[in-house]
Symmetry: C2
Subunit: 350 residues, 2 copies
Amino acid sequence: MSISRSGTQKNRQNSKRTTIYDVATVVGTSPSTVSSVLNGTWKKRRISQKLADQILLEAQNQDYSVNMQASMLRRERSRIVGMIIPKYDNRYFGAIAEQFETMARQHGLFPVITCTRRDPELEIEAAKALLSYRVDYLIATGSTDPDSISRLCQDAGVRVINLDLPGTLAPSVISDNYQGARHLTSVILDQCFKDFGRSEPLTFIGGRGTDHNTAARVSGFIDAHQEKGIVLRETSIQTCGYAAEKAEHTLALLDKTQLKGLFVNSTITLEGVARWLWNNEPSFVTQVRYGCFDWDPFAAQLPNNVGMAQQDVIPMLEAVFEMLEQTSVTSGVHQISCVFRPGAAFRLES
Amino acid sequence: MSISRSGTQKNRQNSKRTTIYDVATVVGTSPSTVSSVLNGTWKKRRISQKLADQILLEAQNQDYSVNMQASMLRRERSRIVGMIIPKYDNRYFGAIAEQFETMARQHGLFPVITCTRRDPELEIEAAKALLSYRVDYLIATGSTDPDSISRLCQDAGVRVINLDLPGTLAPSVISDNYQGARHLTSVILDQCFKDFGRSEPLTFIGGRGTDHNTAARVSGFIDAHQEKGIVLRETSIQTCGYAAEKAEHTLALLDKTQLKGLFVNSTITLEGVARWLWNNEPSFVTQVRYGCFDWDPFAAQLPNNVGMAQQDVIPMLEAVFEMLEQTSVTSGVHQISCVFRPGAAFRLES
DNA sequence: CTGAAAGCGCTTACAG
DNA sequence: CTGAAAGCGCTTACAG
């Protein structure tokens, strides 16, 4: 007698997986009964505990695994919730993706995330693909054109919610960019005053002026200055795009004597800001303070980082799932407060 | 005449989406023909260009979108490639997820990623779920127990590949941890010698000694010391787990005069190392040099970071997709070289 | 060049 | 307490 490799006996080369028919045949019952036992509806069918146990046992024996394709097709509900997201490799979106999966599972839904790399065409493509897989819901995160996606979903009768960036055709959950930016600005100004004894305006760097979130943050930035009676310069707002290189380039062209305090609009921009900073003379570097709208654990530990505004992912997603469950398709924007996170206490001083 | 909201006319409340039957009826042809035109097999059926055009047009008119559930069920191939991955919010795994999606699409496959948070039970759960959705392939990334997952897949007749952490029952693609660690160790030692004029052993911090990758890195670490004739101390290897807090705690207990050079085993560990560092007196901080096995753009800009070993995601995934296409289910481990990335030129000096 | 028919693996209303 | 039957929306071999 030879010992076969574990699992091999079930792995008949060309075999398909076992179905409810196979289980039914062995147990000596009907596929209907097997189906209802396996999907949990058997109690209301008043199937005997004994039969149910036999079926469950045999299903296990045969390594039965329900074919979701068939199940979804028949039910006409997939219980899949799709998400499109711009990136994974960023703490904010990474946290959104992770939290989204966890919460989807808690709600009995199967999450499918697609990363669209901030490419508008890919966003549409991805949304269409997810609709083709018949998602029951779609979360459009940070999409450049949320309304086009909303339209696609509406035509398909699929509920959609915008996250992070608002749209007009579906409900949206976003951060309170205005208050977050106002608070962050105020903290950076205070720190500059404390460390340098003077009140000069900060420079806002990064983002696109046309972008909803950046616009709201610029408002908060302006108002925080106004509250302290600090007058902005013409060059105080540099919405030069998100790319790190853009920030480096922009900063290099500005008057350095006016760059003592920086409001950095995202961690991606901060990568460029930090590179620029370390390439300056140490005597200058010691005189700079900055903060960033967006959180990253290492960025928080960079010297002279005053603090970061962290978008509060859990309440954002809680709001999303709450809306998913509501029947009315109200649009409108739901804002979630940001959390302020101080930077490392580590300062470069002259 | 009232103007209806865009898209509304198609959004008949309770309507299902249009099917090939609807398209066939309008065009006056059969569902078979519509199906083959829509899925691209019509050329070999020698359907007239004219009919095909009509069908395509009408499908567009009706906002037709193929029901993948039905299509997959019938074809008995899903063209889905699943991936389980420990985390998203980390540059390495984030890059893997993004690159995986891009390459899957290039190969005509639909990627579905599930994040398993390093939880062995969740890994099994997730693998079973993906198998229930009838993925054609599964990539098991950084799984704590790759062989259990391989067994599940083998029983289901699904091809599986291990990524980042090797297993024995399926082919594996991993980083060359030994060479990467040896090189990184050597660079940190050189920098310490250059800056301090002495050759003392480094301290290896983080990871689990039983973990395959950590073991390989420890080997490289040891050999690099040996090559330079530097004798390790009893306390030189501190595989205290990955958690940041563990590293902080461990470092706090060690003799500080021996902690001038650190080999940090992952960015998650580095978070703790950096916190510990900044909490020390500045006079000590200036005398520390460290490097990290893992890359992160902000961590790279931390002062006194000598450099980072970056795992080379693109060739790793290229190897994965190459293996996916091979018919033979050979196991074995395929190693990919790491890239060395210098830290910022920024040093704290006394 | 095109259509009728069978069937992928389920679920569920219906009938006992 | 349980089963036969219809049907979800496709695809494809077969027949013309």
